[in-house]
Symmetry: C2
Subunit: 122 residues, 2 copies
Amino acid sequence: MRIGELARRVGVSTRALRYYEQRGLIRSRRSANGYREYDESDVRIVTEIRELMSVGFTLEDARPFVDCLRSGHPSGGSCPESVAVYRRKLAEIDREIRDLLARRAEVAAQFADACPGCLSRA
Amino acid sequence: MRIGELARRVGVSTRALRYYEQRGLIRSRRSANGYREYDESDVRIVTEIRELMSVGFTLEDARPFVDCLRSGHPSGGSCPESVAVYRRKLAEIDREIRDLLARRAEVAAQFADACPGCLSRA
DNA sequence: CTAAAGCTTGACGCCGGTGACAAGGTCAAG
DNA sequence: CTTGACCTTGTCACCGGCGTCAAGCTTTAG
């Protein structure tokens, strides 16, 4: 299939697909006229990328998952490198949550300080 | 005082101060040679800006606080507009925390799905 | 035959808050 | 006079993930 159909099937723009290719996450065969050609394995890969991105992974984070799928694994997350990314992302998220909680407390404190009584009426 | 001294006193770069001015958050008088001139009220304003930024406020978020100080209030956070920003930021932070918690759960679920047994050994 | 839809590469824009550089003016000390 | 510290404006670069044009191909439908 060509880029437009792939885009439609996985729900991304053609621009995004070309960008993924430029970043080395997907590859394309070219037909005689220069058009990109894709198959079902590409659908699988892009789907995996979008699933990961939907939970906050970056494209770089997704790379090991793509490699894992390409190497024949049925799941992109079963390779050691992917597992490492999962653990790292969980740790990152945990840290961000802690930071946000701390910031929330600081803001509330500044607020209470600057405007006594305001917080209780919020 | 000139920009270098102000920068040193509040612990920001001169570049940042010019940027704040460009964004309309601080103002400067100019001496005959074109150098920016500041006084204690500017020290106060920039200090307020940095305090707010240190807890994640953007420059735009800081604007009502600056206006509040300029209008003569001893605290930048006591004006209604500033209070509104405080409330909005608290709500934003709360939403971000909820999103992160939800994302964390999704990541953990994907992880558990892709690699059964991995999470428990984490 | 033509128009429309789809494809190609290339390049700029965005957002926030600067850092870093260029190319100059100013001013006090030695 | 010169050096060096300080000041000026202006501009490019960054990061991520694209959106959006531009200008030109191919293919398909009518």
